[in-house]
């Protein structure tokens, strides 16, 4: 299977381990990830507030490049990049006044979008196109005994009318992926709540509290570790472990790893090959997984 691959800025930056693990896992599963030719930033979920037309146009540029590559599916590991592209095409199609303004902007650029290429989340491709059964065939190491919180976050699910892969209030894609590794999925009350990352740019205190709410909810529900589907959740939930610890006076950590990092472990790949971070390694060691 060949799909266009849009890593996004964070996946090539501070969340590089998401990129590393995703590529390794895709390789094992026989998915050919072709990086989108000369891709640009999707706006990071913020640009639209400053300039809506620029946001739409930037995202159309990526999708237009995908079309030029002769592909129609653009897969991204990052929920914000996903939301950004899908919202852009939704607005472009639904709002004729905005469309007119965007068309003015892209006049004379390389952009030529024909509504063929769409953005999809890596998890959707894994669950729907590759299939749980196929993934199962590649499992070499059962992660038995590991309790994994299934954290969905926001934009892989919402708005449901634009994402549409699964019920936003009753998702199960991540639980399915956890189950296949032999680990125990731990759904928890705040598994679809916001991690607070988008609030860090304006109200970091509030953002941190949201992160704590999520981690605490997973911890209380019995998770050892959690997986998530987003390069920005990754920064928030994993990097801030110690900040949360000191700010909210708790003794535990609840590391967050990317979904493909968990899959990779069950494919027998080493934590180093998957770029797994320090906090997670510690827990995985404790639990005898590595």
């Amino acid at each position: 299977m060949k799909v266009a691959y849009y890593p996004g800025c964070a996946t090539h930056g501070l969340s590089k381990d998401v990129d590393i693990a995703t590529k390794r896992v895709a390789e094992v599963l026989g998915i050919e990830l072709v990086e989108v030719e000369d891709w640009n930033c999707c706006g990071g979920g913020f640009l639209d507030e400053k300039d809506e037309e620029a946001h739409v146009a930037l995202n159309l540029r990526n999708l237009s490049n995908v079309e030029k590559m002769g592909l129609d599916k653009m897969v991204t590991p990052c929920s914000v990049c996903l939301g950004s592209h899908r919202l852009a095409t939704y607005k472009y199609n639904e709002n004729k006044d905005l469309r007119k303004r965007v068309n003015k902007r892209i006049e004379g650029t390389s952009i030529n979008y024909n509504n063929k290429a769409t953005a999809e989340h890596l998890v959707w491709v894994l669950v729907r196109d590759v299939g749980i059964e196929t993934i199962k065939n590649h499992i070499t190491k059962q992660l038995t005994g590991l309790k994994v919180g299934s954290y969905y976050g926001c934009q892989m699910l919402r708005p449901e009318q634009i994402m549409g892969f699964e019920l936003s209030f009753k998702p199960h894609s991540l639980q399915d992926l956890i189950s296949v590794t032999g680990a125990t999925p731990v759904p928890f009350p705040m598994m679809t709540a916001c991690c607070g990352f988008p609030l860090m740019g304006s109200n970091p205190k509030g953002g941190l509290k949201l992160a704590f709410n999520v981690l605490n909810s997973a911890k209380t529900s019995g998770a050892d570790i959690m997986i998530h589907p987003c390069s920005l959740c990754h920064l928030q939930l994993d990097t801030l472990q110690d900040k949360v610890k000191s700010e909210f006076k708790v003794s535990w950590t609840l590391p967050a790893i990317y979904v493909t990092q968990l899959l990779g472990l069950s494919f027998g790949l080493s934590p180093e090959e998957l770029g797994i971070g320090n906090y997670a390694k510690e827990i995985l060691k404790q639990k005898g997984v590595i």
Partner: protein
């Protein structure tokens, strides 16, 4: 003759409705009802039939049964929805179970059964001065408003809030931050802020802008709004007014720095340069402090990756500059 319409090939199914009931004297309990529905049965009709045929004591609100009055907001199978806009059989198919749960909306205090006290919601709406303040000349009939169709379409999209409360009930920032007005109030506020017929712009900016930077962009309001008014979109649009604001608060200042840094780095390289954005948003001191966490988590090495500008910078320049000249 076999009817051509599938409406005519109706199916019927027995469902079990589990209602989370409550009254101040009896407390909380779950109650089950069984009834047969067809593919057209709205959840408001399910409730009406329970009430008139099985249990008259069940309390809920409902009026228009066409998603314009906003009375029947509740949690259906855990999701905040209007009962009228939800078909019983569709739920059963989507959730793969013939059991449907009904609960009152979250966040608002319960009054009885599915009825909640919406005063908190209304107060939020009144805070944004939810009415047009037209110019005196127009009110006196000495002049007439004009409003171009493009503006009418933009504003009408956001003006269709039916005060149902679903977005506020499911908003994490409402629960997290008392200074945040909530999604519905922001939609209402923006609808007037951006209305060229309004005259109290300064006051509206004071009411709305600080709060707008307290939203966490989780898209839940967009997700649950039964009228598709996209409150989060109005919050984004409100933030754009920050540059016109005097006496900015801390959150506004930080937020603006953050977004400007994002826009600048994208324009320069086509990519979002995280390290630079971080530095410009929080300043050097905070950035140094936070570096400790970066090192601890083991991702300091990634912070040093040097991103190469994209080749098509001409495109980016064009896309982003035109916006400033408009």
């Amino acid at each position: 003759m076999e009817p051509k319409s599938s409406a005519i090939r109706n199916e019927e199914k027995e469902i079990i409705v589990k209602v989370k009931r409550f009254s101040p004297d009896k407390g909380e309990w779950w109650q089950e009802y069984k009834l047969t529905v067809d593919r057209f049965t709205q959840m408001t009709e399910v409730l009406r039939r329970i009430k008139t045929e099985q249990d008259p004591s069940l309390s809920y609100r409902a009026a228009c049964h066409m998603a314009v009055c906003g009375s029947c907001g509740m949690k259906i199978n855990g999701a905040p929805m209007l009962a009228c806009k939800t078909l019983a059989l569709q739920l059963i198919n989507e959730y793969g179970s013939n059991v449907i749960t009904l609960e009152p909306m979250e966040w608002f205090p319960r009054v009885k059964d599915l009825v909640v006290d919406l005063d908190d919601f209304y107060e939020r709406m009144y805070k944004v001065k939810p009415r047009l303040y037209p110019s005196k000349e127009v009110l006196d009939g000495k002049a007439e408003h004009r409003l171009v169709p493009e503006d009418q379409r933009e504003l009408w999209k956001f003006a269709q809030c039916i005060w149902c409360g679903l977005c506020v009930s499911s908003c994490p920032s409402v629960k997290n931050d008392p200074e945040f007005l909530g999604p519905a109030a922001h939609a209402k506020g923006y609808r007037f802020l951006a209305d060229p017929r309004d005259t109290i712009t300064e006051e509206r900016m004071k009411i709305l802008i600080d709060s707008s930077w307290r939203c966490t962009y989780c898209y839940q309001c967009f997700n649950v709004c039964p009228r598709d008014i996209e409150p989060v979109t109005t919050i984004k649009k409100t933030r754009a007014w920050s540059s016109k604001m005097k006496d900015k608060t801390k959150v506004v200042e930080t937020g603006e720095k953050h977004v400007n840094a994002i826009a600048d780095t994208i324009r320069r390289s086509g990519k979002l340069l995280e390290a630079e954005v971080y530095l410009r948003t929080y300043g050097l001191v905070q950035a140094m402090t936070d570096m400790v966490f970066m090192i601890k988590s083991g991702r300091m090495k990634y912070a040093l990756i040097k991103e190469v500008p994209i080749k098509g910078l001409n495109d980016i320049e064009k896309i982003m500059t035109l916006g400033e000249n408009e």
